[in-house]
């Protein structure tokens, strides 16, 4: 099958450097104990921890690395044998399995022997309960304190009483964190981190919005790589510096008409998690079929427009309680429709991720409802974020090819 040539995004080298810096700092802290380390769920109270001097390690990011290096399936069975079902979050099972085996993709990527040992574990159930289950395992194993925020999900709108409760829960973490950090919390430092994080969100959102251009300068598969700093370094200047570089390059690509997929005839939406171990294959498949996936729920999940340094606790509560994954289907459908219209999309792909029901939105007839409302077709791809036993490449290729043929026919 022919391979597509394309003009690569130059900032890819920088994003790798930023990610490497992140892991090297953590490794150094792990070895020298010069900084305290907090583990945090992806949309957890990272800014609070950063403001108190912690380095933050995102365990889901490690899960994604296990997926993208296609090593997850070496480890999942170990967690299964330890009583964690193959039907639950494969980030969790692959990560715990890797820990049990004493391995990590950081070894190959950076020569880092093991994941950094935490001083404290933080989570927020705004995305799922699994992050709690996952961190509870480590809390027992490593005997470190575990602090969590319980956020209700399936909301129609962020209610004031919910926001107040979440804000109170974030504040309640402070004394515990002070004890672990060995220093006092300072509201001004917190405001500063919130302001930096807010800027990161804005910049990342602007990067994602360059995809409105015809042709789009970036695909969903690119986004999955470039979102790294927004996940692991938000609240730190380095992330913002990086996104300024990326944004400038993307704007230049738009001006010069540089396409992420040369000659793309179909503009598509990706709903759900990436299939980390198959990013390249999927990216090549869509390019070969003259199609560009240019918007996704997933990569937009690191945009927190509500953050406001003037009211750090409450605005953080608001921002982190109003994320896509925590809302009801009406809210989600409005969100997707707005994107489909603004980005001028021709179809929606839903990834039914076997082990993450939280990030799977195709199981309660949303595809049919949205398709009827928007007048565009959809395809459901059955797979998983990490567990490749749940993914059939052949079936997926046939389904995708047939879907694109159908779009071609209807042009």
């Amino acid at each position: 099958m022919e391979e597509r040539k394309r003009v690569e995004i130059k900032a890819t080298a920088q994003v790798r450097a930023v990610m490497e810096q992140h892991f090297r700092e953590l490794d150094e802290a792990d070895k020298t104990k010069n900084r305290k380390i907090a583990w945090c769920s992806s949309v957890g109270p990272a800014e609070l921890a950063i403001s108190m001097g912690f380095l933050v390690y995102f365990f889901e990011n490690h899960g994604a690395m296990l997926g993208s290096t296609r090593t997850a399936n070496d480890y999942i069975p170990l967690a299964n044998a330890a009583g964690y079902s193959p039907d639950i979050c494969s980030y969790l099972t692959s990560d715990i399995g890797a820990y049990l085996k004493g391995e990590t993709p950081l070894q190959r990527a950076y020569g880092i022997e093991h994941i950094p040992k935490p001083d404290v574990l933080l989570y927020n159930t705004n995305q799922c309960r699994e992050v709690y289950d996952w961190m509870s395992w480590y809390a027992r194993e490593l005997k470190v304190p575990l602090y969590g925020i319980n956020t209700p999900r399936t909301q129609r709108q962020s209610r004031e009483d919910v926001i107040n409760s979440v804000a109170a829960q974030i504040e309640e973490m402070v004394p515990g964190l002070e004890e672990v950090a060995g220093r006092r919390f300072d509201i001004d430092e917190f405001r500063e981190v919130i302001a930096t994080s807010r800027e990161c969100s804005q910049l990342w959102e602007e990067c994602l919005d360059t995809a409105e251009a015809q042709p789009s300068p970036m695909t969903f598969f690119d986004d999955c790589i470039h979102m790294g700093p927004a996940v692991v370094m938000r609240g730190r200047k380095e992330a913002n510096d990086y996104y300024k570089i990326l944004l400038a390059e993307l704007k230049e690509r738009v001006e010069q008409g540089v396409a992420a997929v040369e000659g793309a005839r179909h503009r598509l939406y990706w709903e759900g998690m990436p299939i980390w171990g198959k990013l390249r294959i999927m990216s090549e498949l869509f390019a070969r079929l003259n199609s560009c996936i240019l918007v996704s729920t997933y990569c937009n999940s690191w945009v927190f427009s509500d953050l406001d340094p003037k009211d750090p606790f409450k605005s953080m509560a608001r921002a982190y309680s109003s994320i896509f994954i925590g809302q009801d289907d009406n809210w989600k459908e409005d969100y997707i429709s707005e994107k489909v219209k603004r980005f001028n999309l021709d179809g929606i792909l839903y990834h039914d991720s076997k082990t993450c029901p939280n990030n799977t939105n195709s199981r309660y007839a949303m595809p049919d409802r949205l398709s009827e409302q928007l007048g565009i077709p959809y395809l459901i791809i059955y797979g998983d974020l990490n567990d490749l036993r749940c993914f059939s490449e052949e079936q997926t290729i046939t389904n995708v090819e047939a879907f694109i043929e159908q779009l071609e026919e209807s042009r």
Partner: protein
């Protein structure tokens, strides 16, 4: 005479159809796909050509192995080819149900032959030809006898699992309970229809195709019992995809 060929390399069988300029089938052949798709495809096509020269014939390949053969000018998915072949036969808006060796498809087609939507079954083979074969092997009943046996069933037993392994255990439990083989076989066919009906709400007219429909006419009869509308079965249901591929070959060549 100008001729065109379509070849459908399915996960279980490979089918070839040769047509003339009036879209009449002038040759066809079916064989097990085996492991060497390329040479099986060649053989099947050669047999279907019945001695005609096959240089320069426009050929379209489809099916699971469509990307593995080097002599086809073009590839199309089996969804496109089934829709094409089915619509050509029915010439109106319809829902096409293909029950194949390893997967089932339902395709919604409008009155100009365009596909509106399609669904393929999920990973398990339950409800497909492979499932029927596996159960027949387990019960040690030759495949040719299944259709007749099922028609003799006085009662029906329900096989509800959508996992092949679970369905097999369900059948073992029925055997232990002394259920007659005829009833079990009937239950297997009923479950094939159940699995299709779970995929999407069906609306008539429905065109049934695929190897399972060809070898086991009882499947179409069960659909007729279950639904009030029109159920169409083309003369050679198993060749629908290969025929569609041949039609694409003619269309691209013309």
């Amino acid at each position: 005479m100008t001729i065109y060929a379509g070849i459908d390399i399915g996960s279980c069988t490979t089918k070839a159809v040769v047509i003339d300029q009036e879209d009449n089938i002038i040759g066809s052949h079916v064989r097990r796909s085996g492991v060497d798709y390329q040479s099986v495809a060649r053989e099947v096509l050669e047999t279907a050509l019945e001695g005609r020269e096959w240089d320069n014939i426009p050929i379209v390949a489809t099916g699971y192995g469509r990307h593995t053969i080097d002599f086809a000018k073009e590839v199309k998915t089996e969804i496109a080819c089934h829709a094409k072949g089915g619509f050509h036969y029915a010439q109106r808006a319809l829902m096409l149900v293909d029950i194949g060796g390893q997967d089932n498809k339902v395709i919604k087609i409008d009155n100009s032959g365009h596909r509106l939507d399609f669904k393929m079954n999920r990973k398990c083979a339950a409800g497909t030809g492979t499932f029927i074969e596996e159960i027949a092997a387990r019960m040690a009943i030759p495949l040719e006898m299944l259709d007749d046996m099922a028609r003799k069933a006085e009662k029906r037993v329900k096989i509800g699992s959508y996992c092949t392994v679970f369905a097999s255990t369900e059948i073992l439990a029925h055997i232990r309970a002394g259920v007659a083989s005829e009833e079990l076989v009937r239950g297997v066919f009923e479950s094939v229809v159940d699995r299709v009906m779970e995929m999407i709400p069906l609306a008539d007219p429905i065109l049934l195709c695929g190897g399972v429909v060809q070898y086991f006419p009882i499947v179409a009869d069960i659909f007729r019992e279950r639904m009030s509308g029109e159920i169409i079965v083309p003369p050679l249901p198993q060749l629908t995809g290969a025929y569609g591929a041949a039609l694409f070959a003619r269309q691209s060549a013309d």
